[in-house]
């Protein structure tokens, strides 16, 4: 038993170690994209009419006049010390903005993720267990409808109906619980749809297997078959998709925050990208990618815990 734990820990450690090159690769890609194109932050900040000397001066202050790889190296070294850089535009440290903005994003993202997992998976199981029933038809139709309505349009409809016409909920900002109802609802709907469809199809696949027939034949109760035999086999792809939907939620918050004008990481990143505020873009990328990598590792570990076949292949 102790040996097994040791290999699992070794596996986790190996995966965690692999994050470093992955992140470095990601940083290099985004850093190159942001840098190898015309336009410099000095010009962006001072505007088109500023004198070239002033622009050069500002670029020098920001350290933008150094060669590409020097800046890349310096950024990586700072990063390894936990220094996430300072914004070119506002001259405020990234961490300061992060602390004030990330709670809003986390509130929206986490609640949407939890809610959509609950709704998507339970409806998906229900639809598969009662295939062709009213629940199944209803959830399938709703799913394909909402898969076609983009989040920003849904959000605007909600703003129009509940914010402007009925006046129940505030339409922008993030100062109270009420402010988060519509953004979370929008993001939840958009994310739960894919989970629902996938849970349904994998659960259907699982139900059609021979071992389910065997279980039925030997007289297992329906509940036991569904919850014990089928779900255990259907849950693996669902966990994988939950991991990916965490990524969707991250991307979704950018657009949702801009629809509801919420001061979160999404809107911060968006302004930073527009203004070529490289340190902010980089550090946001690093944080998001890191979160995403960790979630994916968690998914793999969960899958390995649930399925001994995967455990054998990836760890063994």
């Amino acid at each position: 038993m102790k040996g097994v734990e040791k290999t699992v820990l070794k596996y986790i450690f190996k995966r965690l170690l692999f994050i470093v090159p992955t992140l470095l690769g990601g940083i290099l890609i985004v850093f190159s994209i942001m840098n190898l194109t015309p336009g410099d932050p000095g010009r962006q900040i001072l505007g088109m009419n500023a004198k070239q000397e002033q622009v050069d001066q500002l670029n020098h202050e920001l350290g933008y006049d150094k060669p590409f790889f020097t800046r890349f190296g310096e950024y990586c070294i700072d990063l390894s010390h936990g220094d996430l850089g300072t914004s070119y535009r506002t001259r405020r440290p990234f961490t300061e903005e992060l602390v004030s903005r990330i709670p809003n994003t986390l509130k929206i993202g986490l609640s949407a993720f939890v809610l959509s997992s609950i709704i998507g998976i339970s409806l998906g199981i229900l639809a598969a267990v009662r295939q062709y029933s009213l629940v199944d038809t209803f959830s399938s139709v709703t799913a394909i409808l909402f898969a076609s309505i983009p989040g920003f349009f849904l959000g605007m409809i909600l703003i129009y109906v509940f914010g402007l016409k009925l006046g129940w909920l505030p339409t922008f900002g993030a100062s109270s619980f009420k402010h988060f109802v519509m953004p979370v609802a929008t993001l939840t709907v958009a994310t739960s749809v894919s989970l629902l469809r996938l849970t349904r199809s994998t659960m259907l696949d699982a139900i059609r297997q021979d071992y389910i027939r065997t279980a039925t034949a030997k007289g297992c109760s329906k509940n036991r078959i569904y919850w014990k035999h089928a779900l255990k086999n259907a849950i693996l792809p669902v966990i994988t998709v939950m991991g990916m939907s965490a990524g969707t939620v991250m991307g979704g918050t950018v657009i949702i925050e801009s629809v509801f004008a919420i001061p979160g990481m999404g809107t911060y990143m968006l302004t930073a990208i527009r203004a070529k505020d490289i340190p902010v873009v980089m550090s946001s990328t690093v944080l998001l990618s890191l979160a995403f990598c960790l979630i994916m590792i968690l998914v793999d570990i969960l899958c390995a815990i649930i399925d001994p076949r995967i455990r054998e292949r990836s760890i063994g």
Partner: protein, 295 residues
């Protein structure tokens, strides 16, 4: 000589038969047929946009006619600059549909080619590409697309590049896994033993057999690619004014939606309806083409 003609005749007939078999399977799915009809209407509108209403109506500004409600003159009303919303939606269909189709086409082409090479050759090349895919996938897709558009400049071409770039890794993985299952088949060994060149095996023997799953994956993705493009245009990182595009039109509607809700409803419905038709067609194709689901 006659023999050859005969076999060719049989081959072409079986192809036609296969098409009709697939079509009759597809036809059974009423929702998929409805989706196809809606999609055809959108395609016709996009193709004949200039005959329906001249492009000038979509970009001509007139302060006298700004923010007018729908009427017989302007079916869908006018926007804040007095442009005809109906004309903008009709001409916007060209951008939105081609964004979905072109990005899918290019990512299938590029991702498919790399995926085939990975699956067929394996080895170091495969390992390197897969590690690169891991890196690319670890960057949240929307952020990656935003960075590409921000760096290259916001316009339609760069939007296509950005959306294609974020979807290529996914296609590489799908195609690679499909190819891996085919490479082990006996007829590939047979072809190899006959001394066929790699190119011939890859594109004549493997590709036709991998086409089904790849097409299914692609058709399921067109709608989400279109929605992603509309989303980027919506936050101002895509097609730029005055070019009519549905996502950008929605963004324009933001400040006027209380008094002029039609500014929100028409472009939004256009996006949703076209995405719905694409999703229905994708689902129908999957059900008709995927042999695993055929029971």
């Amino acid at each position: 000589m006659k023999e050859i003609e005969k076999t060719e005749y049989i081959k072409s007939k079986s192809k036609g038969e296969r098409f009709f078999e697939n079509w009759s399977l597809y036809k059974k799915n009423k929702a998929a047929v409805l989706g196809l009809i809606i999609l055809m209407i959108f395609v016709l509108v996009a193709v004949f946009a200039d005959w329906i209403i001249p492009y000038d109506a979509a970009i001509d500004q007139s302060s006298a006619e700004r923010l007018q409600n729908p009427s017989s003159q302007h079916f869908f009303g006018t926007d804040r600059l007095g442009r005809d919303v109906f004309a903008r939606i009709v001409h916007g269909s060209r951008r939105s549909l081609s964004l979905g189709v072109l990005t899918t086409f290019f990512s299938v082409l590029i991702g498919g080619f790399i995926g085939i090479c990975c699956g067929y050759f394996g080895g170091k090349f495969d390992t390197i590409v897969m590690r690169l895919c891991d890196v690319a996938v670890s960057i949240p897709p929307l952020l990656f697309a935003l960075a590409v558009v921000a760096a290259l400049g916001a316009n339609m071409t760069n939007l296509i590049i950005a959306i294609t770039a974020i979807s290529i890794p996914g296609y590489i993985r799908v195609v690679r896994s499909v190819i891996l299952s085919i490479v082990e088949q006996e007829y590939i060994y047979a072809a190899r033993m006959c001394g066929s060149r790699n190119g011939v095996i890859m594109f004549r023997h493997i590709l036709p057999n991998a086409m089904g799953p790849i097409l299914v994956q692609a058709s399921m993705n067109v709608a989400s690619m279109m929605l992603a493009a509309a989303g980027l245009s919506f936050i101002g990182m895509g097609v730029q004014a005055p070019t009519p595009e549905w996502g950008a039109m929605l963004n324009d509607a933001k400040d006027y939606m209380f008094k002029q809700p039609y500014l929100l409803i028409f472009p939004g419905s256009a996006i949703a309806l076209s995405a719905l038709s694409l999703n229905l067609v994708g689902d129908g194709l999957r059900d008709a083409l995927d042999p695993r689901l055929r029971t």
